[in-house]
């Protein structure tokens, strides 16, 4: 196995008496999709928050792209190549789809202390933004306000924004949430095509999607990683079946 792009070492986060992250050590290697699953309240969101820099862990370390990023603020991690999408759709609603992606491009185009030049006809931003929208299939919707896009389109827009900085790792927090079956299938195809270029840590409730996409799966229960392995290993794991999947054969 190649050197991990992202790895955590015995990460711990407590909220009062609640141990939300209990000595979690996981890693993502280049070119793989590593899925993180677990029932509600398992601490997935808390873990993601620590990886992105929104939550400070109590102990343990996070390494990304060869350096210790445990105490690094969010925007610096982004510039190292760590991009994310949100569980609850998070786009700039008052801006058009094109403006949303152009801002994502701008975030990686040096500092933005430029006060006078008009950014609306700045091809250095708009050109890559247009290409990014086309890549996710939103080319026709460039000038539509983000708030007027359908839910599925907003999820696609989020992916386009996350991809704008050409990240080496994508943190996808339930990218299929709220999508219809057809939209989900399209997203799965898109993510699979993307895999060769960048690694992904996928948090997802849709088990079909997880088992179709993931190279490795880690199961989180009560803040602890109880199992980690290939989809086949996870399917066969008794602890997982008992603690999370249930014995009723939810995973066929």
């Amino acid at each position: 196995m190649s050197t991990p792009l992202l790895s955590t070492d015995r990460l711990v986060k407590r909220f009062g008496g609640l141990l939300a992250t209990d000595n979690v050590s996981i890693d993502v290697v280049p070119g793989e999709i590593h899925a993180l699953i677990g029932p509600n309240g398992a601490g997935k969101t808390t873990l993601v928050g620590q990886l992105t820099g929104n939550i400070a862990p109590d102990s343990g370390t996070i390494r990304f792209a060869g350096q210790d990023v445990t105490r690094l603020p969010t925007h610096k991690r982004v510039h190292l190549g760590l991009a994310r999408s949100f569980q609850i759709t998070s786009v700039l609603r008052e801006f058009t789809a094109l403006e949303n992606v152009a801002l994502a491009v701008q975030a990686h185009a040096g500092h933005s202390f430029r006060f006078l030049a008009d950014a609306r006809n700045d091809e250095g931003l708009r050109g890559p933004a247009r290409r990014g929208l086309e890549e996710v299939g939103l080319g026709q919707r460039a000038n539509t306000l983000a708030s007027a896009l359908s839910h599925g389109e907003q999820r696609q827009l989020e992916i386009a924004m996350a991809l704008a900085g050409d990240p080496s790792l994508l943190l996808l927090d339930e990218p299929m949430a709220g999508m219809g079956a057809e939209e989900s299938q399209r997203m799965i195809g898109f993510l699979r095509a993307l895999k060769s270029k960048r690694a992904m840590l996928l948090i997802e409730h849709d088990m079909d999607a997880v088992f179709q996409l993931a190279d490795r799966i880690t199961v989180l229960v009560y803040g602890r990683a109880i199992a980690s392995g290939t989809p086949a290993e996870i399917r066969a794991n008794q602890d997982v079946r008992h603690a999370y999947l249930g014995d009723d054969g939810m995973v066929a």
Partner: protein, 321 residues
């Protein structure tokens, strides 16, 4: 430019700017000196309102202490003047630097908070300066201080009311020009994006705090400019120019005119002053003595705007393209 005149908004804005540009000629022709004095204050307050709009309208940061920059700009001019430094070439840069530094300091501390806390902390800093001003016995304390106008020998005589008005008007045009560029610049997009969704902007990789701090500081610089002009307009400084009521008036003006629009603060200031000057007379005409209670009418008017014209006066002028 010409095409913009075909829309109601463009036409009205052009007429307002034209009227403001020739106001001294009009007031002279109709022998209404008092109107020029109101006009001067409208122009100065517009500069302050445009500067507040940069952070309030575009940035979504409700600063409840913006009048403090009237005070910082004004007191810098007044204190220098009281010590015999009457040259505007010294007074004005010192005042602008003072306002800028103070804005950077307040911003660095207050921008670490959100929402209601941000409102309270900006108000607290403004009150701090207000009470310091009231305690400066050497400069008139609460009573304030009469000062002489800044001197720019050989360039312009600020004692001439028309010249001073035109200087203020040029300053307003410069402020509006900067704001128009700023709004659609890369920097403006970051500030507006952070208003829309600051968590998203951080996740995209923007150090949002740093950009907001610079916006807050710039806003303070232009607020300081308004303070310099205000002190010169009345040839007088006092803590009253930075009371929290003035800060509140500035917020009302920006909301009334249309937050996050280029000319909204200008419309808002004109509407505010026109109502403030005319409502008492109108009510007195209805019944003698009612004029004193003009705010009973003014308050509900503001509520109506807040409820039914969310985009302020600007939104009444038609859709934006």
């Amino acid at each position: 430019m010409i095409a913009a005149l075909r829309t109601p908004r463009g036409l009205i804005t052009a007429l307002i700017l034209l009227a403001l540009a020739v106001l001294p000629l009009l007031t002279q022709a109709f022998d209404q000196r008092y109107l020029l004095s109101i006009g001067t204050r409208i122009v100065i307050w517009s500069i302050a309102a445009v500067s507040l709009n940069m952070i309030l309208g575009y940035g979504g940061l409700v600063s409840f202490g913006h009048a403090v920059f009237f005070g910082i700009g004004g007191y810098a001019v007044g204190i220098l003047s009281a010590h015999g430094v009457s040259s505007g070439w010294i007074q004005w840069p010192v005042a602008l630097i003072a306002a800028t530094l103070w804005a950077a300091l307040i911003g660095a501390l207050s921008l670490r908070t959100r929402g209601l806390y941000f409102i309270m902390i900006t108000l607290a800093f403004a009150q701090l300066v207000y009470y310091v001003g009231g305690g400066l016995e050497a400069y008139g304390a609460d009573d304030g201080l009469n000062i002489s106008r800044s001197r720019f020998p050989g360039l312009i005589d600020l004692r001439d009311k028309a010249s001073f008005y035109w200087l203020c008007f040029v300053a307003l045009c410069g402020t509006l020009w900067f704001c128009s560029r700023f709004a659609n610049s890369r920097f403006g997009y970051v500030i507006r994006g952070a208003k829309s969704n600051d968590l998203r902007m951080t996740a995209l990789g923007f150090p949002v705090f740093r950009y907001r701090l610079v916006a807050f500081t710039l806003s303070g610089t232009f607020g300081g400019l308004a303070g310099i002009l205000l002190a010169n307009e009345g040839a007088y400084i006092s803590p009253a120019m930075m009371s929290w009521v003035k800060s509140g008036d500035l917020i009302v003006i920006v909301v009334l005119g249309g937050m996050g629009t280029l000319f909204g603060p200008l419309y808002g200031t004109i509407a505010f002053f026109v109502l403030e000057e005319s409502l008492p007379h109108l009510l007195d005409l209805m019944r003698k003595g009612w004029g004193e209670y003009w705010q009973i009418v003014f308050g509900p008017l503001l509520i109506l705007v807040a409820l039914y014209a969310r985009g302020g006066i600007d939104s009444l002028l038609g859709r934006r393209s």
